[in-house]
């Protein structure tokens, strides 16, 4: 995996996670349980793809090797993607989709809120723009977690199973590395410890309201999204998402 300077690495992590989560949501197109749900899933997906473009535009400017945001999105291999392992997981049933969305929204919300104060002006600008949208996303996914968790016996069981499947990937919200340490020291991103606490509080509150139990902290896993070591699901997602640009490079219409 090619390595860039710390800020660029961080921009790729943000952009890739938003893009992969957006792409997963779009897989629901034409398959959602109700028309209103379909529009909501697509709207959230669209916001995330737009946010990804903002992050990747900035990353492309810094990489400065002639590639733009589209090239970064459509011509990088799985090994060069820095997204969270959580967001590449398959959609599963609606309980898995909404739990995944909620865990990611809660993390995005607290992270973006802190990033609006970033020492880097462009990071602060993208964060302020994204935050307005993510507040809506978090509100909606929290409501779904509560409704399904505190719903019927079956919906509760499905939510518990979904959290059981996904929780292991949340260790990535908490782990620091050289990039995180250096950027938080220079005031570009928030302190990882404080962020972890805020995320845990939000998750614990919503899970409790939803009568779901809050699992113990997830432990490290042998894979790492930001190191480009992904689960087997990302490659398949990229194969579909990148098909056109791979088969017909630079196609336009």
């Amino acid at each position: 995996m090619k390595k860039y300077d710390e800020l660029t690495e961080f921009l790729l992590r943000m952009g890739d996670s938003a893009l992969v989560q957006g792409q997963r949501l779009c897989e629901w197109c034409g398959r959602a349980p109700a028309l209103e749900e379909e529009m909501a899933l697509m709207n959230v997906g669209l916001d995330l793809v737009g946010q990804a473009r903002n992050w990747l535009d900035y990353a492309a400017q810094r990489i400065n090797d002639g590639r733009d945001a589209d090239m970064l999105a459509f011509r990088r291999d799985e090994r060069d993607y820095r997204n969270l392992l959580l967001v590449e997981q398959p959609n599963g049933d609606f309980a898995v989709t909404m739990s995944k969305q909620f865990l990611y929204d809660a993390w995005q919300f607290h992270l973006l809120e802190a990033l609006t104060e970033s020492a880097d002006q462009q990071v602060a600008a993208i964060a302020a723009k994204s935050l307005k949208e993510v507040i809506y996303h978090l509100r909606r996914s929290s409501e779904w977690v509560e409704r399904l968790g505190d719903g019927t016996e079956e919906s509760h069981q499905r939510m518990a199973a979904a959290i059981d499947t996904l929780w292991r990937f949340t260790f990535e919200f908490q782990e620091t590395d050289a990039v995180v340490d250096s950027l938080s020291e220079s005031g570009i991103i928030p302190d990882a410890g404080a962020l972890k606490q805020q995320w845990q509080q939000t998750v614990a509150k919503v899970f409790t309201d939803a009568t779901l139990s809050v699992p113990e902290d997830a432990r490290s896993f042998y894979l790492s999204g930001r190191e480009g070591m992904h689960t087997e699901h990302l490659g398949i997602l990229l194969a579909e998402m990148q098909f056109l640009q791979r088969a017909y490079p630079d196609a336009s219409w």
């Binding site: 209103e36 529009m39 909501a40 916001d47 946010q51 723009k129 307005k132 507040i135 809506y136 909606r140």
Partner: protein, 180 residues
């Protein structure tokens, strides 16, 4: 019309522009006629997405801000703005995207709100405070019968910027322009 007429018309148009206040006002007037492609009742100026119009080195500079990060109309709007300005005689206008400060529905003009209502879309109520973002929105009036007896059907409507509502008095569904 002969080719010569076209050429002389064009050159007169561009020669006329010097970037003084009258020209900048003219540019704003041109922009006030560029409709939003998804809500053609309002112009890009009504929506508050044109952030500045300036003149520098014989060129017009226009700063535009996107409404939502993923709004698919963003690039289309920029193209429409460029075409309208060129047709009005501004040679090679320069468009830039400005993310900061982030667009807010507070920038929709009073005239724009009235046009939205007349078009059947309830304009955003109140200002985009954090409380309104967190769901404590004020009363949303039905754009058809003005009743406040309305309820939200879905937080996401036909486009990223709208939510789906229904009036419990006249029973009509309608779009509400979300407050952000």
């Amino acid at each position: 019309m002969r080719a010569g007429d076209l050429i002389s018309t064009d050159s007169t148009a561009s020669l006329r522009l010097r970037g003084d206040d009258a020209d900048l006002n003219f540019a704003w007037q041109v922009l006030a006629d560029v409709p939003d492609p998804e809500v053609p009742a309002v112009s890009v100026v009504d929506l508050g997405i044109v952030r500045s119009v300036t003149w520098c080195d014989d060129r017009l500079y226009v700063q535009v801000t996107p409404t939502y990060s993923g709004c698919p109309a963003t690039e289309f709007i920029e193209e429409m703005i460029r075409e309208a300005l060129q047709a009005a005689g501004f040679v090679n206008p320069q468009l830039t995207q400005k993310l900061d400060p982030a667009w807010t529905t507070d920038w929709i003009t009073a005239e724009g709100r009235e046009k939205l209502r007349a078009f059947g879309i309830a304009p955003p109520t109140g200002s985009a405070s954090k409380r309104s973002l967190l769901g404590e929105s004020g009363e949303v009036h039905c754009p058809h019968c003005d009743s406040s007896n309305t309820r939200q059907l879905s937080e996401f409507g036909s486009t990223a910027c709208k939510a789906l509502y229904r009036c419990d008095d006249c029973l009509e569904p309608f779009d509400y322009f979300k407050c952000i």
